[in-house]
Subunit: 429 residues, 2 copies
Amino acid sequence: MKKYSEMTKEELKAARDELQKKCEEFKAMNLNLDMSRGKPCKEQLDLSMGLLSVLDDKSSLVCEDGMDCRNYGGLTGIKEARELLATFMENDVKNIIIYGNSSLNVMYTIIMQCFVFGVMGEKPWKDQDKIKFLCPVPGYDRHFAICEEFGIEMINVPMSETGPDMDMIEKLVSEDEKIKGIWCVPKYSNPDGYVYSDDTIKRFARLKPKASDFRIFWDNAYTVHYLYDEVEKHDHIIEILGECERAGNPDIVYKFASTSKISFPGSGLAVLAASDNNIKDIMKHLKYQTIGYDKVNQLRHVVFFKDLKGIKDHMKKHASIIRPKFELVLNTFEKEFSDVDAISWTKPRGGYFISFYGLEGTAKDIVKRCSDLGVKLTDAGSSFPYHKDPKDSNIRIAPTYPKIEDLEEALKVFTVCAKLSTIEKLLAS
Amino acid sequence: MKKYSEMTKEELKAARDELQKKCEEFKAMNLNLDMSRGKPCKEQLDLSMGLLSVLDDKSSLVCEDGMDCRNYGGLTGIKEARELLATFMENDVKNIIIYGNSSLNVMYTIIMQCFVFGVMGEKPWKDQDKIKFLCPVPGYDRHFAICEEFGIEMINVPMSETGPDMDMIEKLVSEDEKIKGIWCVPKYSNPDGYVYSDDTIKRFARLKPKASDFRIFWDNAYTVHYLYDEVEKHDHIIEILGECERAGNPDIVYKFASTSKISFPGSGLAVLAASDNNIKDIMKHLKYQTIGYDKVNQLRHVVFFKDLKGIKDHMKKHASIIRPKFELVLNTFEKEFSDVDAISWTKPRGGYFISFYGLEGTAKDIVKRCSDLGVKLTDAGSSFPYHKDPKDSNIRIAPTYPKIEDLEEALKVFTVCAKLSTIEKLLAS
């Protein structure tokens, strides 16, 4: 089959007319489909219904150490839950704090603390000249939104299959004292699904930032979110906090995770891990913020999952539900875009997203076309600071939430629109 | 019986010797008792065990409006819970935001927002000269701690049985633009158990602060926390937000409450109520902080309590458990301190505390003596900004948590120590 780049103008126009006919057909179908949301689907949520029954009115809510989960106290979490989440985080129990239901909220809170009170005795960020964050792109829109909220300038750093551009990062942080942090999703990155390589992580651990209050914001959101059951297909990354310790750089990183996409989003547990010094620094402020988080829910999770194996077994069930959806997207792209050499996409083995890369200057147009035909996508540019994709090329595909039949329909529309935008762009150039 | 003030030095010394003998006896008992904690006791927690069974693996977690409680979303809370808590707060649903598990955390967050981002478009507090808060005293230590955390200067305002000194408040807020807020616990105030009078609340609603970003932080922590079952014994206060609206001053107040001492501390629901303008302003920042709070727990509370009547019926059960403890304290004080005219105490009809007022300069000494005999009390000064009780007179008595037998023992020690400190002080003067 001829590639788009090899076609004559006339051939492109003929292809366009075909695609436009299909659009007319879609239009007549009055579709109402959504591929925008990085949410688990109903069947995934059903997997955790047992969580609601593991504690009942006959249960003992008293912890191993005698603490009554129902009462005040337990600022860093109950012993059992800290132990479970320590194995999950691959860190010592003493380096763990369990927060409420949202790791986003933990990240916001930590940024707020750095901003208002400063990092380990340093001048608060609010009292320093305009500060900056490095943002591997594309990335998670809500990370970038927190920076916007606090007026932190964002600098794009390109991503690759092995992680962000470390040459650029090493250079920038060593030269510019105003750079105070970087957002990382090291495993199955949002939205590319890339996994940081050992080399990338070792270089992160060995960063020598000019700013002593520089921190890596390590959002390991998809720690155990494999798409395949077989352990040999699982990606492994170096545990960053240990690596930082080995590099003599233990305080440079804050790690975040949650069970949001393991148990229930909104009703899970969020967790932070950091060095002894950072934990001490964080606790100085946490003690004013609350008397404690929901310990009953902590116990519920411990009884339901039991141990890390329990969590991983549970994740296999998630995988079996969402893997076919990812494969449907990848197979459809493979089939439909074989002749469209301007288009590429990522092939994640975990996480929640697939990144689509169109011909430069087409992403917004594709999203608009889909929307006009009743298929909602994440806004183009969403995965970039200030919602600005410099190439207008990336679209985040979120396959988990829709029913597979709906996803199939939506993908038909998407692929037609993507091709049409590509041709229009080629014809206009 | 002769009052202490009428006794000769010799009589006081004789009384002292008697009391010291009792102290020796207590010492020999190796007591380990605690009257320091404003926590519900086990029997109170048991009342809410049903909360753990109202949802199980067979339950529908889908709300009236179709929202799945288990998934992301619902930033301001699920419809059913907002309706329940709107009746609880006596406010419109549109003026309600349900947060996580801790109203303290909500208050901290609101102060943080005012500090970092400013109140409704005003200059952030952080960018204004040293700002101040008014603090009715004695008050809640954790309110004051938040001010300390943000470097907000605190000004004591004396409390009386009808609420704080409104003449002083009106004068100060109308003159000093740096005064940005006041902490209020309007019903069964912590630790006095006073209830703000209608006149006090009407004057609050009509404050004309010089600072346009002045806010009343109205922590209605003990809304339905009556000690007596009979409705005619319940105290009622004017609903402040409505009163502020009637006074043409709707934006002056933030209201806070939670179910912490209704269901489970740490696993309840926290709620904020405020004017349309304030809600809009708060939402501008809340949307960066989280995707949503624990909606499963919201539904759990709705199914368990059903409606405001359900909450009030539940509170009768709480009252029946803690009323005897309050009465034991009050009866013991009545009996033991009848001859000690320098000592007084409050007689709350709700809430969690009783305030003890000793002879000036004795509170620290009493707490120390009790501690030496194995009875832990809240630190003297805790209920004051900077932990400084200018009169060194107030001790917060928390009767709810200990078993009644332990409370009885602890009170024997307390009353002896209080008398002894008083006599020593009288002899030294």
